[in-house]
């Protein structure tokens, strides 16, 4: 075997590129994982938030690169996902063309799945048709004559059952054979011509010829005016291929296209509808010869399950229970794990304390680095658990039903049913919630969901509420003495974000993210047993991508904020005091108890002064005029700024500023008492009910969580949206706190 021309034929040296394409819900991912093993690399296609999955493997001595394209219904793309698939197949942008395409269809639904297949076989590239989920088809009583099908379509046909790992050797063998024969002769480049005329009627074929001639006279090279590309530019008005060719050939090509379309419309072949009609006609006639169904299509397990699971009342209740179960499991499970992580980090810190003397290095290690790593790792259990649930629900087919049933509710926010799970997860924590927006395929819906997810009251806001309510809301009872006022206020604060999210979502949808609402055409796949392997791989990929893309930024910000709170400042006295306390504790803690207490108070005072003179503290003092209208003094301002990495940090910061040390929590009586006693220079108390409520309202609406912002950056692939989130939420929080305070003091 000799390669004819190294520039156009796949050589034995560079890996063969194989693209996997198919409708959603055809088991493409399972097949991809089975073929590529563990060596999968994920990333994003340039400029878009479409996930790119490449697997590297070796068969029969050849290096293979598998590209898992996003699920596609047709090569007339209607979404960024589909656009990427078309671009990879046509070889534009930076992606080189694949050497072979495997088109994956579900054997139980060929009536619909073959639509894409009939388009794919026209591409200027060898194609193998893979009928996946073959076992389900056999079970449903479907018989398919694969030899005849192969003859009719002109491509090899292989049957597989990826979950049962059947047919994989045959598929690999077919791929290798196809690669070898395409390297030897021109056959692969000639066949598409005949396939196009077979499916599309004569008038359209004539127009395609005419347009191809037009492009030849314009000097477009043969590769860029293949029958496939020309036909796509004609049949997909204003699509990416039309744009591509108009760029190459000039706007006169656009005119030629318009003329062709007018001609065809006059002849009764209206574009774009005619393509679908003709292809389905071809498929119908083909399947009459090739496929027989021995059982009627309605008596399936899926239908019986759906009768219960999508029942208007019971189905809805079941759906709600399932989603609440997911939510509570994450919420309750992640708490002990987070505590475990914090315990581990605390232990590491104490080891560092043993070995490193008090000084800037120790401070950097414990408060900067260990704390920074901790603020990344603490999210991993929740992310992994949520993605485990999402993977199981999607793989078994239930996720689509949940979106179906929640759609009307989400319609109140201007969103679709797919937004329900991410928003609900955000009530526990917005970090996995924002990552979960990957299940939303409409780009604008996804962005709106990402932008309102942080408004859902997350668990990190609770400590602030508990502190403020415990210290300043009176313990009175309403409604005849059984409803505690404190509980009402807590509920109100927890739902404030959700209430505000409704108008925010609607405004976003009608201004910034305005656009034609994408149709809610949701396919409900057959129920099937989820593949644990695929799900676990997805969990691993998500966790890894979080740590690498978002985690590094979260860590960097933590260290930066630590630095802002430490420098500038002379810490020598602080270090001396700390060293002295530790040596006394090591000697005999009880004996020196009083001395230790006295030194500790001095240390706390030092900490407070150092924080005040640090960059963070000075910023807080500088912005005091800004926060006065909210009823705050500079200390609260510093607390808010310091809580940028994570909301609950405000508690420890307030403790430090008020010279109580950073170890206080929201339940500390000491902190509560100190806050109650805090006064302005003229003696009036700082904290009152309106101030406390304005602080809570601010935290309810603000974006003080760098982790969420970094995850938004990762999911939107740009800095624009996290910056926008931060700005709009801070403005919203400021206005909310302002109104609360100003109205509160007048009541």
């Amino acid at each position: 075997m000799t390669a004819a021309s190294p520039t156009t034929r796949p050589s034995a040296v560079r890996p063969a590129r194989i693209a996997l394409i198919g409708n959603p819900n055809t088991g493409k991912s399972t097949l991809f994982n089975a073929l590529s093993g563990m060596r999968v690399r994920t990333g994003n296609y340039p400029g878009v938030t479409v996930e790119k999955r490449i697997g590297r493997t070796q068969w029969a001595g050849r290096h293979i690169e598998l590209i898992d394209l996003p699920g596609t219904y047709s090569l007339s793309p209607k979404s960024p996902d589909e656009m990427v698939a078309v671009q990879v197949l046509t070889g534009c942008c930076d992606e080189p063309r694949p050497d072979l395409i495997v088109c994956i269809c579900s054997a139980s639904a060929l009536e619909r799945n073959l639509y894409l297949a009939t388009q794919v076989v026209e591409v200027n590239c060898p194609v193998i048709l893979c009928l996946n989920m073959w076992d389900a088809a056999v079970h449903a009583g479907i018989q398919i004559d694969t030899t005849l099908l192969s003859q009719e379509l002109g491509v090899p046909v292989v049957t597989t059952s990826a979950t049962q790992r059947e047919g994989l050797t045959e598929l690999k063998a077919a791929i290798v054979e196809s690669l070898q024969s395409s390297e030897c002769d021109e056959r692969a480049l000639n066949t598409p011509r005949s396939r196009v005329t077979q499916i599309i009627s004569e008038p359209i074929a004539t127009e395609i010829d005419r347009l191809e001639e037009f492009l030849t006279t314009r000097g477009i090279p043969a590769e860029r005016r293949s029958p496939f590309l020309v036909s796509r530019s004609l049949l997909d008005p204003a699509g990416s291929v039309e744009c591509l060719l108009t760029n190459d050939a000039g706007s006169t090509y656009g005119d030629a296209l318009a003329e062709s379309r007018k001609l065809l419309a006059a002849a009764g072949h209206e574009i774009p509808g005619v393509e679908a009609t003709q292809r389905y006609k071809f498929i119908h006639q083909l399947l009459r010869r090739v496929q027989t169904r021995s059982k009627p299509t309605s008596a399936t397990v899926t239908d019986r399950l759906d009768a219960v699971l999508t029942h208007r009342i019971f189905g809805f209740l079941i759906c709600l229970s399932v989603l609440l179960l997911v939510f509570s499991t994450i919420y309750w499970f992640s708490q002990p794990v987070s505590e475990g992580v914090e315990g581990l980090l605390g232990w590491i810190s104490s080891q560092i304390v043993n070995f490193v003397a008090p000084g800037p290095l120790r401070s950097l290690l414990t408060e900067g680095i260990v704390s920074g790593v901790g603020s990344v790792i603490v999210f991993l259990p929740q992310i992994c658990l949520l993605f485990l649930f999402i993977g199981l629900l999607e793989d078994c087919g239930y996720m689509a039903r949940a979106a179906f049933m929640m759609d009307r509710l989400m319609g109140l926010l201007g969103l679709s049913g797919r937004s329900f799970l991410p928003l609900m997860s955000s009530f526990a924590c917005a970090v996995p919630g924002v990552m979960a927006t990957r299940v939303i395929d409409d780009r604008r819906d996804r962005l709106v969901t990402i932008l309102i997810a942080p408004l859902m009251s997350c668990s990190a806001r609770l400590p602030v509420y508990v502190l403020m309510i415990g210290a300043f809301i009176p313990d009175s009872r309403l409604l005849g003495g059984w409803l505690p006022l404190r509980a009402v206020v807590l509920f109100a604060m927890s739902t404030l974000g959700l209430v505000v999210a409704v108008p925010v979502a609607l405004i976003l949808r009608s201004t910034l993210l305005r656009g034609e609402p994408s149709p809610f055409l949701l396919e409900l796949p057959d129920y099937r047993m989820p593949s644990l392997r695929v799900v676990l791989m997805r969990v691993w990929e998500s966790g890894l991508s979080f740590v690498v893309s978002a985690g590094t930024l979260i860590f960097a910000t933590s260290v930066l904020v630590w630095a802002a709170g430490t420098f500038p400042g002379d810490h020598t006295q602080q270090y001396q005091l700390a060293a002295k306390i530790e040596s006394l504790q090591a000697a005999d803690e009880e004996l020196h108890a009083t001395e230790i207490d006295a030194l500790s108070s001095q240390l706390n005072l030092q900490n407070a002064q150092l924080l005040q003179s640090s960059f963070l503290g000075r910023t807080g003092i500088a912005i005091e005029p800004l926060v006065r209208p909210l009823g705050w003094d500079w200390r609260i301002g510093v607390g808010v700024i310091a809580s940028f990495p994570a909301r609950e940090v405000v508690i420890a910061t307030l403790g430090t500023i008020y010279s109580l040390g950073g170890d206080v929590d929201e339940e500390s009586d000491g902190l509560r008492a100190t806050l109650k006693a805090a006064t302005w220079p003229d003696g009036t108390p700082v904290f009152s009910i309106p101030v406390a409520v304005s602080i809570m309202v601010f935290f309810a609406l603000c974006a003080q969580c760098v982790s969420t912002l970094m995850v938004i950056r990762r999911e939107t692939n740009s800095w624009r949206w996290p910056i926008f989130s931060f700005v709009y939420m801070t403005v919203l929080a400021y206005i909310g706190a302002f109104l609360t305070y100003q109205i509160g003091i007048r009541m």
Partner: protein
């Protein structure tokens, strides 16, 4: 031959698609998913609170909102072609085109 919109059909009924109105992306996508003239559609059930409706077309389950279903005009089996009225529904697909 009476034509209705898909949105007007009652739950549990079947019909044949005659046309999709509009030439925008929604119409194009509907046709690509199988709602072509001559295709048999079965109306299955509706989501709570007046949400989307589930249909079966080409042995696949697809749900869509009322707004999308209103773009599709349908007719009953008898209205499609008298000569094939006695054939089972599946066979009626594209028999007349």
């Amino acid at each position: 031959m009476k034509t209705k919109r898909l949105a007007d059909l009652t739950l549990g009924s079947s019909a044949i698609v005659t046309a999709i109105s509009g030439a925008n992306r929604v119409a194009s996508r509907l046709m690509e998913m199988g709602f072509v003239p001559g295709a048999a559609v079965e109306v299955l059930r509706r989501a709570p609170f007046g949400g989307p409706i589930q249909y079966r077309v080409h042995s696949v389950l697809i749900s869509m909102r009322i707004a999308e279903a209103a773009c599709i005009t349908v007719t009953d089996a008898a209205g499609w072609s008298d000569s094939v009225a006695s054939m089972p529904v599946a066979e009626l697909q594209l028999a007349a085109t």
